[in-house]
């Protein structure tokens, strides 16, 4: 008995190559357009695809509505991080950050507005930019990645104002503490560092892996994700996902998850978190028990 094969079209060289590409594709970053109708996604081949959320989520959505509206090659390397301002889409990957106009992208005119590279110390290998953070009050952009530094760039002038050093290994993620303008960064070295933007100095360091309750040595010590609510912070990765009280730098709740977490965010009173290699988005309350999971 023959099994039904999903593809009836004979696969030539081009089709096989495209299928293989799709199988090995990783989407690293995403960003919603300022109008809220479009979603930009960046993958490991350096391409950015724009999807129409309104079409895909509408009641008359067909297969074609779930395909990208426009796809373009943005970077040579993977697109690790993207943010949107009210008019621009900023994407960063291998060493440089590029800016695109949302209005132009939607009209399929995909030319970058500008590209900037922070001043790197080493020239042997171009470090990647893993995280982008917008500081709306200063109208600046913070980049952090492979060279273990946080760079701030003024969005108007494009000049790099500060470089915050302190991490001993590359930085994974950034979070903004709004009330006192502080930036939190989590890195491969296992530490979460808080930086004061005005003084450009490191204010606080939390070495997560050193705390026995949350460390998981078999996973490593790296911090993959950070989210902060000004008083509270959630971080996870190699160590378990933990809720910290920032002033006292003590872990309060440890969320029972097995896999290393890649993304976390605060939503009202809940914590939403997703692991990279499971199909679930878990929703927890602040008290530490899992309320429910959203599953693909």
């Amino acid at each position: 008995m023959e099994r039904a094969v999903p593809h009836a079209v004979p696969l030539g060289q081009m089709e096989v190559f495209q299928a293989l590409q799709r199988l090995h594709m990783t989407i690293f970053s995403q960003s919603v357009s300022p109008c809220g109708k479009f979603l930009a996604a960046g993958n490991n081949y350096g391409q950015i695809a724009i999807f129409s959320l309104s079409a895909a989520l509408s009641s008359e959505a067909k297969e074609e509505s779930k395909k990208p509206v426009v796809t373009f090659q943005a970077h040579d390397g993977p697109v690790y991080s993207m943010v949107s301002t009210d008019r621009h889409l900023l994407s960063a990957g291998d060493g440089e950050v590029k800016s695109w106009l949302w209005a132009e992208i939607l009209k399929k005119g995909c030319k970058e507005l500008w590209r900037r590279q922070p001043p790197y110390r080493t020239s042997l290998e171009v470090p990647e930019i893993n995280a982008l953070l917008l500081v709306p009050k200063e109208n600046s952009l913070i980049l952090a990645g492979g060279d273990c530094q946080l760079h701030t760039m003024d969005l108007e002038t494009g000049a790099f104002t500060r470089a915050l050093r302190g991490h001993t290994d590359y930085i994974h993620c950034l979070a903004l503490r709004e009330r006192s303008p502080e930036v939190l960064s989590g890195g491969e070295d296992g530490a979460v560092r808080l930086w004061d933007l005005r003084t450009a100095k490191e204010v606080q360091t939390i070495e997560v892996y050193k705390h026995e309750e949350c460390s998981r040595p078999h996973n490593g010590r790296w911090i993959g994700c950070l989210a902060t609510d000004s008083d509270w912070m959630v971080c996870g990765g190699g160590p378990a996902l933990t809720l910290w009280h920032l002033r006292s730098s003590t872990p309060t709740t440890i969320f029972p998850m097995r896999a290393p977490q890649k993304h976390v965010t605060f939503y009202q009173d809940l914590v939403l978190t997703a692991a990279g290699n499971s199909c679930r988005v878990d929703v927890f309350t602040n008290l530490g028990y899992r309320a429910f999971s959203l599953s693909f």
Partner: protein, 683 residues
């Protein structure tokens, strides 16, 4: 009494009338000499009117007398008799008058009649004359018109026009002075001239006929001469055969082939012509030949009466044997199937020689009732090949040409109309018969010029030369590439089965000098087994694991780590790369679903295959991929982050030079090898 007496008297009177008439006549006769009494003449003299009056008076008198007699008789008396007698005599006289008058009347009548008669006769005679004359007039008129209408034969002849006549005719015929004035003479002259001309032309005609006869005879003679030449030429050709062979110019052989080719069915003929042309023009390594029985091919076109006779004979035979053995339904169906799948007795053989002296033998058949072509393939190498176990299917005749073009697996008939024919005899698909009949690939149909539009059965699909020509070059090239890549794989498999990954010297730069992981096993697995593996689900869902592909399992080991690689080899290797799916057993089972680095390793081998192709014709792709897999395993094991909680040294010390161990949010290992610096970095 009186009436009786009158009656008596009448005849008397008459008699006596007669007698006196005679008497009168006699008197008239006697008076003829002198004067005769002619009553006729008297008639003319008397007046008829007076006679009529006299008659009336006489009648009156008679009546009076009769009345008086009556009176007297009635009175009676003696003197009556005398008065009666007196009166009687008076009445007799009156009677005499009456008689005379009667006579006169008769004579008048007669005269009148005679006169009328005479006049009538005259009129008749005139009438007759008139008619005669009229008749004659009419007759004469007719004659006149006849004469007027008379056309002489000479008017039907198309005579030359007057001007021409005067120009051409010699003066003794045309006699211009005479004929000009006299149309009659002119016509005569013209007729003369016509006659002259006709005589001359008749002469000419006879001459030409005799000429023609002569020439025909000459032609006959020459023809005979030419036909006597043919056998002599044949004998010269025969004699020149050894010379041809010596000079490598096999004209005769080619000629014979063309002779045989005339009996080929149209698609095979197209293939033969196009292949020969291509071979002569572009590719000297291609040779074409025709095999099979020409007589059988000729027998196919026997006239129907013969076959009907055969049928009736065989029917008679069948009837005889019916009692003993009835052919079962299955046997009948079988026969029908055989009939439907019958091949044309002639087939075309193509031999493709490759660079390394291996030859691909292709035999093309034509299935007459289905109107499709099939091919059987065989690869012959210069030296005898020892087939490694895993390479069993590589060069097998069944699969060596599978999917030459994407999707062309050759298991289904390309002619949509065949489905209806199959239904009649209970054939499900052609797949069951391909081993015997050959594969009906689509490119084979195209080489034969047969084009079947998809899903629409057409009644007649005729062989088209242009279709064949446009596909010939590509197909031949693909065939050669296919054979060579299969032979290369064949060799490589032999080496792989011994655990050696044969990397050629011009591909060494892709890999570091030291590779510790080793290939320990290389086997072929079945399609179903591949589908059952738990780490190949993605490939299966993407539709890349079809039953036309070949599947292998490789095992790479280093220390305690065992890496299983399931390989999908597409028949279109090496333009379509092999696809690897990995499963690592070391500190737990890691596949692409739970370890991003395994995924990255797969990506290095599957997606970045173009770097591994090596020099054209990129036969090194598979071996390079395997070697890279070994290198990747080395990197993976050596860059494993050390777990502080576990005691003891790392199993695999890091020997590879890497700039950074982890990069990016997914914390990838550095899998990319940089040449010639020799360090590993990230993509």
């Amino acid at each position: 009494m009186s009436s009786e007496s009158s009656k008596k008297r009448k005849p008397k009177v008459i008699r006596s009338d007669g007698a006196p008439a005679e008497g009168k006549r006699n008197r008239s006769d006697t008076e003829q000499e002198g004067k005769y009494y002619s009553e006729e003449a008297e008639v003319d003299l008397r007046d008829p009117g007076r006679d009529y009056e006299l008659y009336k008076y006489t009648c009156q008198e008679l009546q009076r007398l009769m009345a008086e007699i009556q009176d007297l008789k009635s009175r009676g008396g003696k003197d009556v008799a005398v008065e009666i007698e007196d009166r009687r005599i008076q009445s007799c006289v009156h009677f005499m008058t009456l008689k005379k008058l009667n006579r006169l009347a008769h004579i008048r009548l007669k005269k009148g009649r005679d006169q009328t008669h005479e006049a009538k006769q005259k009129v008749d005679a005139y009438h007759l004359q008139l008619q005669n004359l009229l008749y004659e007039v009419m007759h004469l008129q007719k004659e006149i018109t006849k004469c007027l209408e008379f056309k002489s034969k000479h008017e039907e002849i198309d005579l030359v026009s007057l001007e021409e006549f005067y120009k051409e005719a010699p003066p003794d015929i045309s006699k211009a002075e005479v004929t000009m004035g006299d149309p009659h003479q002119q016509t005569l002259a013209r007729l003369d001239w016509e006659l002259e001309q006709r005589k001359r032309l008749a002469e000419k005609y006879r001459e030409c006929l005799s000429n023609k006869e002569k020439i025909l005879k000459e032609i006959e003679v020459k023809k005979e001469y030419l036909s006597s030449l043919q056998p002599r030429l044949n004998s010269i050709m025969q004699a020149s055969l050894p010379v041809q062979e010596y000079l490598f110019m096999p004209f005769d052989q080619a000629h014979k082939q063309y002779e045989t080719a005339r009996h080929l069915p149209p698609p095979l003929y197209v293939l033969f012509v196009q292949a020969t042309a291509y071979g002569q023009a572009c590719d000297k390594t291609l040779s074409v030949a025709i095999e099979g029985s020409v007589d059988e091919a000729k027998a196919l076109f026997k006239p129907p009466e013969d076959s009907q006779d055969d049928e009736s004979d065989s029917d008679a035979e069948e009837e005889q044997t019916t009692k003993r053995r009835r052919p079962t339904l299955g046997v009948q169906l079988d026969d029908k199937r055989k009939e439907m799948l019958k091949r044309h007795p002639l087939s075309v053989m193509l031999d493709l020689k490759c660079k390394d002296d291996s030859v691909l033998h292709l035999t093309f058949y034509y299935l007459m009732n289905l109107n499709i072509m099939t091919v059987k393939a065989k690869v012959m190498t210069a030296t005898e090949l020892i087939t490694p176990i895993s390479a069993g299917d590589l060069l097998s005749p069944d699969s060596v040409l599978s999917c030459l073009y994407p999707g062309d697996h050759g298991k289904k008939t390309p002619n949509p109309a065949n489905q209806y024919q199959f239904d009649k005899v209970g054939i499900l698909t052609l797949r069951d018969y391909v081993l015997d009949l050959g594969h009906p690939y689509l490119w084979v149909q195209k080489l034969g010029g047969l084009h079947f539009p998809k899903e629409q059965p057409q009644h007649t699909v005729i062989a088209d030369h242009s279709l064949s020509a446009s596909h010939m070059e590509t197909t031949m090239k693909l065939l050669k590439t296919r054979v060579q890549s299969r032979l290369a794989l064949h060799k490589q498999f032999a080496s792989l089965e011994h655990g050696i990954v044969p990397v050629t010297s011009d591909c060494q730069y892709l890999f570091p000098a030291k590779v510790v992981s080793r290939l320990v096993k290389w086997v072929m697995i079945a399609h179903e087994d591949y589908m059952e593996l738990h780490f190949t689900k993605d490939i299966v869902e993407a539709g890349l694991a079809e039953d036309t592909n070949l599947y292998y399992m490789a095992l790479v080991e280093r220390g305690t780590a065992k890496l299983q690689a399931a390989v999908v080899l597409n028949p279109g290797y090496s333009s379509i790369p092999p696809v690897f799916q990995l499963c690592l057993n070391w500190k737990g089972e890691k596949t692409n679903s739970n370890d991003d680095n395994i995924r990255a390793m797969e990506s290095e081998v599957n997606v970045c295959y173009k770097e591994l192709c090596g020099p054209r014709p990129s036969h090194q792709l598979l071996t390079n991929q395997l070697q890279r897999l070994c290198v990747l395993l080395d990197v993976y094991l050596e860059t494993d982050s050390h777990d502080d909680s576990v005691e003891g040294p790392k199993e695999f010390p890091q020997e590879k030079m890497c700039l950074r161990l982890f990069r990016g949010p997914s914390r990838m290992k550095p899998f990319k090898y940089n040449h010639p610096q020799g360090f590993f970095s990230h993509r």
